[in-house]
């Protein structure tokens, strides 16, 4: 039992640096009207991957709801607002055709595995460590430009760390 605790502690200790290692460049927070956009990023693409996901957290400090209705980027022929979900063991994805409502006083998070900005018809790769500029449009607040840092996907803290010596 004592040994088990020790291994668990060791595991936690060993696991910690791996997590701290992932230097994550953060998006500069931007405001448009009463909306605050933060923690944005995009996933780096695999070779030949024609699509990619972009993510951002939107906080509405205003008195009225606003709706994210569009996004565009020089890198993508088309951008849409999508929601992904796992239903049992099936991945389903839907376009939010009416846009994404951000209710007054609330925060909506676009994150991997859920809501995302979908880069489609990419005309180049999204490269880890670079930035991608995206203009998002809200029904009321209008346009705002985001500089999303591009990040490699993380894999449960293990593997893919060819650059480390672990």
């Amino acid at each position: 039992m004592k040994n088990l605790m020790k291994s668990a502690a060791l595991l936690m200790f060993l696991g910690a640096p791996a997590m701290a290692d992932d230097k994550m460049s953060m998006m500069q927070e931007v405001n448009v009207g009463p909306l605050k956009l933060s923690d944005g990023f995009a996933h780096a693409t695999l070779p030949n991957q024609p699509v990619a996901g972009g993510f951002v957290t939107i906080t509405n400090t205003g008195e009225a709801a606003d709706t994210l209705i569009a996004a565009q980027s020089n890198l993508a022929g088309v951008m849409q607002i999508h929601e992904m979900a796992m239903q049992d063991d099936t991945m389903i994805m839907r376009e939010l055709e009416g846009g994404l409502v951000v209710p007054a006083g609330e925060t909506v998070t676009l994150e991997p595995g859920g809501l995302h900005l979908m880069f489609m018809q990419l005309n180049g790769p999204l490269v880890d460590g670079e930035d991608v500029i995206v203009t998002v449009t809200f029904e009321d607040a209008g346009d705002v430009e985001l500089t999303l840092p591009v990040r490699k996907k993380m894999h449960g803290g293990h593997g893919m760390s060819h650059d480390g010596d672990s």
Binding site: L46, M86, D89, T90, M91, H158, M160
Partner: protein
């Protein structure tokens, strides 16, 4: 009347136990028989390694089979990354393991397209072919996929996101779920490869 009961009660009990035996034992057993047929069927596809991919491809060495498509922003890249992670963790233990990434979107996923897409993970073979053959393979592997139209003339695919594990005789063993815990996934792979 009591004599009649003496017949009816045991007969009822017999029927009830037969139903119980069916529910508890035979029915799951039959379902299991079905599961053992997973991957078996009449389909003829082609791999990015230039080799044909049929039910016979599952024999000879253990394999992991995943269905996906390249226009997939999240699940497919994540799963490929997970597979690369498993290979990293298992090292030489995984040298026998073959990984097949079968497209559910043959319309867009040609062998050229798939080759680069999966090529960065060592040993992963992309598999595509005629739409009818892909549908036949999906049926054989019990994979669900459905084309979902989007605006701007685009479309996406809903699809099952399990990694199916087969032993070296081509028999289905068990699945690894999407984003399943690394240690559990590794334990399943070690069982398969031992």
């Amino acid at each position: 009347m009591p004599r009649l009961l003496r017949i009816v009660v045991p007969a009822g009990a017999l029927v009830a136990s037969a139903v119980l035996v069916w529910l508890a034992w035979l029915q799951p057993y039959l379902a299991e028989e079905d599961v053992l047929k997973l991957g078996h069927g009449d389909y003829s596809l082609v791999g990015t390694d230039g080799q044909p991919f049929t039910e016979a491809s599952l024999q000879g060495a253990p394999s992991a089979v995943f269905f996906g498509f390249t226009h997939c922003p999240e699940v497919c890249p994540t799963t490929l990354g997970d597979i690369a992670g498993w290979q990293d963790e298992l090292g030489d233990e995984a040298s026998d393991l073959r990984v097949f990434f079968v497209t559910v979107d043959p319309e867009r996923d040609t062998t050229e397209m798939l080759g680069d897409y999966v090529g960065w993970v060592p040993g992963v073979v992309g598999v595509t072919g005629d739409a009818a053959e892909i549908r036949a393979a999906e049926k054989a592997f019990r994979i669900y996929s459905r084309k979902i139209p989007l605006s701007d003339g685009e479309y996406t695919m809903d699809h099952s996101a399990l990694v199916l594990l087969f032993d070296d005789s081509g028999r289905f063993v068990e699945p690894i779920g999407y984003q399943e815990d690394l240690d559990r996934a590794l334990a399943k792979l070690r069982r398969l490869l031992s």
